[in-house]
Amino acid sequence: MPTRHINVNVNGTPREILVDSTWTLLETLRDGLGLTGTKEGCSNGNCGACTVLLDGKTACSCLVLAPEADGREVTTVEGLDTGGRLSSVQDAFVKEGGLQCGFCTPGFLVSTTFLLSNIPDPTEDEIRLNLAGNLCRCTGYDKIVKAVQRAAATK
């Protein structure tokens, strides 16, 4: 198995990680670094449970090879808080009850953070379109949309 060291800035901390060329970024985060907040749903780009920020843009970490991340910055759900306090997006999901089982939530939090950094005050249509890559089995999405609207209003 071809292995290599990669240097990745994960949630603000530089990490040197020994990876196999065939590992995905998702496997590296969960199994290599123990950052299990990022979830694996479909493993093929459809569900968004594995969404992280790669150099500031959302990506499905199940469709990123670990060595691709060498020299780059990764932000996972574990890195969204500010000094131990929930971010406005996380807080809004709690206040609106924008989750039930919570499996999809890390992906939604990362996608919402990215959405609001691009469109600070999105319409409901913009919210639904921009979160179309995140699937939720439980909520029916309405409370998620409300949580995004609350986060936009409290930013």
Partner: protein, 290 residues
Amino acid sequence: MPTFDFAAPTTLAEAVTLMASAGTVRALAGGTDLIDQLKTNRRNADLVVDLKRVPELQRLGSDADGLHIGAARCCSDLHHDPTVNRLYAGLADSTGLVGSVQIQNRAAVGGNVCNAAPSGDTTPNLLVHDAIAVIAGPSGARRVELTDFFVGPGQTVLQKGEFLQELILPAPPDDSASAYLRFIPRNEMDIAVAGVASFLHIDPATKTVKKARIALASVAPTPVRARAAEAVLEGKVISASLIDAASVAAVESATPITDVRGSAEYRKELVRVLTRRTLNICLDRIGVSL
């Protein structure tokens, strides 16, 4: 997942050398097709070459030849680019339709082209803009018209060691516009049952069609131009009945299959309807009313 090695060249020369390595070598752009194909063992690889760090493959800018789109440049960048939106609107439409935001942030137009799925949403928009494919390889660069790039489903003219460096889209004239529509049963995140890209160049004084291009997705083994429909339009004064005639003619170029997404008959009907609608959007974008 097969066992493979990984390389990420930072110069074009290095990429050419690596791509010509022995064994099965796969180019990697956004990986939204390739990584799943590898995981499910639909593709093997001895070496995966990540082309995203090669500056030429990230190019996005215009010169006298037209707009250069580096083969690894992601859909999001094109979807939000002012020049793409102003001059190549159908490409802007389609880059905003590929999967989700997460997918668009990674998926390259070059990856969509090289994957050569008949359903690729961006490809017909490159065809209606007369795109040129610039191919890099061990024996130097060559240029191929994108219409001649596709051989069959998943098959292109690329030879061992060759890869797509960039696409060049000539600057469209004033009083022209393009548009893309696809039909899917959902609002997003689905594969086109059928898709149509149109381009029109109209003489505003006489309302004569100076140039027409129509290309179809998901209705043939490769993306195809609807040349019969183009011929119906060119040289004639644009009118609702001419658009209807062209839409009927577009169906002649569709040789669809029946599968879970739709029957052949249904796909042909979609081609007719989407051709009419995209031609009307082009007119709207040019500012010509019927």
